[in-house]
């Protein structure tokens, strides 16, 4: 790929993909930006044909000034952070466990991956109705078995419930990536550490964890991108009430429930900014971790 000829050929062949991707991203982005500066309330008779009123930054001011804005940012960060912590910690432990030789290893590994293939809507509904229902759910039965009062999860522990459901979905992904990373660890390194007098915990913190550094950063990066936009899990469980209204969900409500497209678009732009701040943050960590 070094000659000038092969470089220009490469560019030519990549062009369709690049153009398609650009169109895919740029058209919605410019439309969002455009609407965010307009008054656009379809129920009040605004439409593209009749032309939309330019309102400057009014939508932005209103979106950020609304009493639900900061709570929604908080909810977003809380849910993303909670899921990340749970999936990474449990993922590491599960990966170590699955790396041990035991009978039926192949089947167990497939079972562990299974939740990842369940659609978010389905898994959230299953959790809500089968596990967390305060009357008939498994948890309710379990609580009653121990003589405790069943928890009405969706209203009393709503954020925790969402974190639990989403963690369950993403744990397989984290486990899978971390498992492959653990398998690439040279067993002689662990043996050397053992001979050097490192007990089990020291071997974990000095050898295994640094070895997993890269894989952990990748898990965090990829999960964050997807977790910032979780929607289905909230939609089918709490419907955004009880403190589970994330930024994504707030935008959805502004556009669909209040039929205010301009306001929703402004929220969309805020979401882009938030995602970029988070991404920038992560990229610096990743860059540091991937460089060596």
């Amino acid at each position: 790929m070094a000659t000038r000829h092969s470089r220009s050929a490469a560019r030519l062949m990549m062009a369709p993909a690049v153009i398609l991707l650009l169109g895919w991203m740029l058209v919605p982005l410019t439309m969002t930006l455009y609407f965010s500066f307009k008054r656009y309330l379809p129920m009040r008779g605004d439409s593209l044909e009749r032309g939309l009123d330019w309102v400057g930054f009014e939508n932005y001011a209103r979106f950020i000034g609304s009493s639900s804005f900061w709570p929604s940012v908080q909810a977003t960060l809380l849910i993303v952070g909670g899921v990340l912590v749970i999936t990474v910690i449990l993922g590491i432990l599960l990966a170590i466990l699955l790396d041990q030789p035991f009978w039926g290893q192949g089947i167990v590994r497939i079972l562990v991956i299974a939740p990842f293939f369940v659609m978010p809507t389905v898994s959230a509904l299953v959790w809500k109705n089968m596990m967390m229902d305060p009357v008939n759910g498994m948890f309710a039965h379990l609580w009653r078995f121990f003589g405790a009062e069943p928890v009405s999860w969706m209203s009393d522990a709503s954020v925790q419930s969402i974190i639990l459901i989403v963690s369950w979905q993403w744990l397989p992904f984290a486990t899978l990536i971390l498992l492959t990373a653990i398998q690439s660890l040279d067993s002689e390194q662990l043996e050397a550490a053992e001979m050097d007098g490192a007990p089990v915990l020291a071997r974990f913190f000095y050898i295994i964890l640094p070895h997993l550094g890269r894989a952990i950063t990748i898990v965090i990066l990829i999960q964050t991108i997807f977790l910032l936009s979780i929607f289905a899990e909230i939609f089918v469980t709490t419907g955004g009430s009880f403190g589970t209204r994330t930024l994504t969900y707030l935008i959805f409500q502004r556009v669909v429930d209040s039929q205010n497209i301009g306001l929703g678009s402004a929220g969309g732009v805020y979401a882009i900014i938030l995602a970029n701040i988070v991404a920038l943050f992560l990229m610096r960590i990743v860059g540091k971790n991937l460089d060596r």
Binding site: A192, E194, D196, G197, Y206, I207, P210, R292
Partner: protein, 334 residues
């Protein structure tokens, strides 16, 4: 101190007996080399001594105390692995200091020992690098450094040079021998390279399929191999092993004669043959001679350059005082 005794030590992986019961004593300060073909159980034996594998039966004693159930860290042994097994995310300094840190030694003493080890191993300029930024030979030295700072009772080396190129291997071989001469610590060294074994060892242990075939100094093994396997394994090029009528004439089932103990003549001798391929090493020349009545070509060493060519007729005469005789079981006949 580092006297290691194995008593009736055996090891099986499931149904497979890798090491049948075996006895071996390694004296304090000795440089012992385990040598044998691939898969004969050298690494397994070393790992048993290190404690990285559990013995199936038998007893391992270090300095007289039973170490059979003692975990590796408590045996006071240090191991250098074939892959070096350096910790990639730590600097060279931290790598070498790791065992000291795990032992809870204070920082000043750690630093003193690391500096001393680095000076011995020519690593002073590389202390702040990561293992990934070092050459193979330097990595090897870091691995040795990590072993020597602990001041172990014995060093265990598992084919430490097999990842290095030929020139570097010769250099590192000398360095390890020199280290042994200076530290006078017991060293157990595993290799399948018989040149390494011959040049470094005080005592060689020849293994085949987990069995000890012979134990002795390099020259003992060279001069009087106990059986055909040792005879064929020790020495380069290999000893010529000849059976049939010629062996019978010397009163044995098989006779062995080393390439340097055969004299060459153009006119007369014991065996007649034609010169095949010749290998010129400058100081020596090896001829592969096809002799009448001997199925395999006979290797002959001649000092310096000799004017013999492919297809020439020559006569070979073995030096009967250096003839090795073996019986039907392949054992040496005195």
């Amino acid at each position: 101190m580092g006297r290691i005794t194995l008593e009736k030590v055996s090891k099986s992986f499931g149904q497979v007996d890798v090491i049948p019961p075996l006895d071996l004593t390694i004296e304090d300060g000795e440089f012992v080399v385990f040598v044998g073909p691939s898969g004969c159980g050298k690494s397994t034996l070393l790992r048993l001594i290190a404690g990285l594998e559990d013995v199936t039966s038998g007893e391992i004693r270090i300095d007289g105390t039973d170490a059979t159930g003692v975990p590796p860290a408590k045996r006071g042994l240090a191991m250098v692995f074939q892959s070096y097994a350096l910790y990639p995310h730590m600097s060279v300094r931290k790598n070498i200091a790791f065992p000291l840190r795990m032992a809870g030694m204070d920082a000043a003493e750690q630093e003193r020992r690391v500096t001393a080890a680095a000076a011995v191993l020519n690593l002073t300029d590389y202390l702040d690098r990561r293992p990934g930024q070092l050459s193979g030979g330097q990595r090897q030295r870091v691995a040795i450094g990590r072993a020597i700072v602990r001041e172990p009772a014995a060093f265990l080396f598992d084919e430490p040079l097999s990842n290095l190129d030929a020139a570097l291997r010769v250099g590192m071989r000398l360095e390890i021998s020199e280290l042994h001469a200076r530290l006078r610590t017991t060293m157990i060294y595993v290799t399948h390279d018989q040149v390494e074994a011959m040049t470094m060892a005080d005592k060689i242990v020849v293994l085949r399929a987990g069995n000890i075939e012979q134990v002795g100094t390099p020259l003992q093994l060279y001069r009087s191999p106990r059986n055909l396997f040792v005879a064929g394994f020790i020495g380069s090029p290999k000893m010529n092993l000849i059976g049939g009528a010629i062996a019978a004439r010397h009163g044995a089932e098989t006779i062995g004669i080393r390439p340097e103990h055969i004299s060459v003549s153009a006119e007369s001798g014991d065996w007649h043959g034609t010169v095949g391929v010749s290998e010129h090493l400058g100081s020596d020349t090896f001829f592969h001679v096809t002799c009448d009545g001997i199925p395999d070509p006979v290797t002959v060493r001649v000092g310096g350059e000799v004017d013999l060519h492919y297809g020439d007729d020559i006569w070979l005469s073995p030096d009967t005082s250096h003839l090795h005789r073996f019986d039907g079981q392949g054992l040496r006949v005195a």
